[in-house]
Symmetry: D2
Subunit: 177 residues, 4 copies
């Protein structure tokens, strides 16, 4: 059976979105790609800076509230339904809760063929890329680099520290065959 | 039963996204809001200018291909699943096919409490706002202003020609009670 | 002599940028248009949240430091030089310091034919549009609505409360002849 | 005398903007940074797809017209004036005309201490990064990779093929002392 969902998990500025776009370019069929930003953009503006929603601390730490979790759960169910309806779906995620975050997705994706891909990048390199991008809160890259992988189980891991996004995408695509 | 899905349908630059954001601000519970751009951004870049995907003609007309339709169908199923999972969802749509487009959504949203809202705007006013926004292909506003409403059935219609997005949102929110 | 610089001054979400884009569309010659965001985007990221640079308080107030002023002064000289080199230039500004802000520009634009245009919008309406846009810090519209006009002298004033950006642009363009 | 202007020249997706942002972060004083996109965004929308303005051919080639050149000349004079007014300015440019493009800047920057930096990247690597970014017209990276350096004279060259933007920025910053 062909893979139906590819979950890319890694810290901020680890290169997940670039890999997702390259995967869309190299995979033979058209896949949908969603990032954690898709969900955040869909939430009410008030939830981006409130106790109920998501908060970006000055040091780059991300704090998530109960109402965020509730909307996120519905979002995850929706993504699973898209795959069940026949679309290949690439999910670009930041498992702030490590294994607990993965379990939320595993539960919703039950019965689907999912490939779990860890996207690693040395904290110092990710932090420098965060500066180069200029659109992220400084500190997120370092604070997330390791914590998002704690206890997470992967089918495959790639490391963007010395490997280009396109090369990582080719490795992932080859593993699907 | 409380409404679970609000579908805002209108042409480009008619003010749908603004109304969606205002709805998120005035509704008592947190709602997710997705636009047609959410889906387009999720598609492979190659589909944005190909026979299989979506094409923006120089006069602003939008042409959609078979693979686009396939991914769109999965997307619509996903949005329906989010509402079934308990999230209120606002959908900001452009029914290029009029009644046929509405039927695609109606089929997927079966069993849910959906409010269909027509967002009107005089073509000339929408065209001028398209220029003011500066991020849209000139001509989309006029070419879509009427065609998107052909044969579509609404619970409620608002007109942004002389009414602010926030006022439209309040009218829609009041109708949900 | 033809006007060489048009300065649009108004609070956040008063509609200045939309008017600027419409002016570019209706004026017979090509004009350059710059906003206060052009300058902010050109500054080091570190200045967007520091004592030396610019700070957005939670209530939407904007606080500006000494190093910001220094780079701003050079920016203003540069914009004046573009007009002296023959380009028509539209400047979309927020005179947080009222008359003092205008004097900074007046000094740099000496000898050029400048049209000062006040862009008014009722605070409540601007605040609602701020919500509809969704990309601004809530509160800026109200906190800036009046203060930016204090002591400022205009050749012309427009009010977007009930008038579309394109219509405002036509009024301004007509006044240039 | 301290450097007053740093001109980074390289093809699309060669990494110039990332280097510019890293330079702003590592240089001891605050510098302004402008890209070729700053100028394009300032132009009338109509010039982005017209004979008089700038045109992006389907293969990624960029064609520039007479009115574009006229506004560009004024822009360059303005940037020079900012440096003369005391601001350090980083310019991120694409010398589509090679040596002829450099001469346009050299003429305007006369009397200023300018550092000319070539930003190289192997065409194949730049093309893959163009796919990963997802916001550029496919083909620009390859079509510009070599042509922008033809006949251009540099104080320093960096190559992002195997070197991170931050490391390139540190090399450039060290050369200024």
């Amino acid at each position: 059976m062909a893979a139906q969902v590819i979950v890319l998990n890694g810290g901020s500025s680890s290169g997940k979105s670039g890999i997702a776009r390259c995967l869309q370019a190299v995979l033979p069929d058209p896949w949908l790609a969603f990032g954690v930003d898709t969900l955040i953009d869909a939430m009410p503006a008030s939830m981006r800076a409130s106790d109920a929603g998501i908060e970006f601390a000055p040091d780059g730490e991300v704090i998530v509230g109960a109402e965020f979790r509730s909307l996120e759960a519905a979002w995850i169910e929706g993504v699973a339904a898209m795959a069940r309806a026949g679309a290949g779906v690439i999910v670009d995620e930041v498992f702030l809760g490590g294994a607990a975050s993965q379990q939320r997705w595993q539960k919703a994706l039950g019965g689907l063929d999912v490939r779990w891909v860890g996207v690693r990048c040395e904290g110092g390199v990710a932090a420098a890329r965060e500066v180069a991008r200029g659109d992220r809160i400084t500190g997120m890259a370092v604070s997330q680099a390791d914590v998002v992988h704690q206890g997470v189980v992967y089918d495959l891991e790639v490391d963007t520290t010395h490997t280009e996004p396109m090369q990582c995408a080719r490795i992932i695509a080859a593993s699907l065959r």
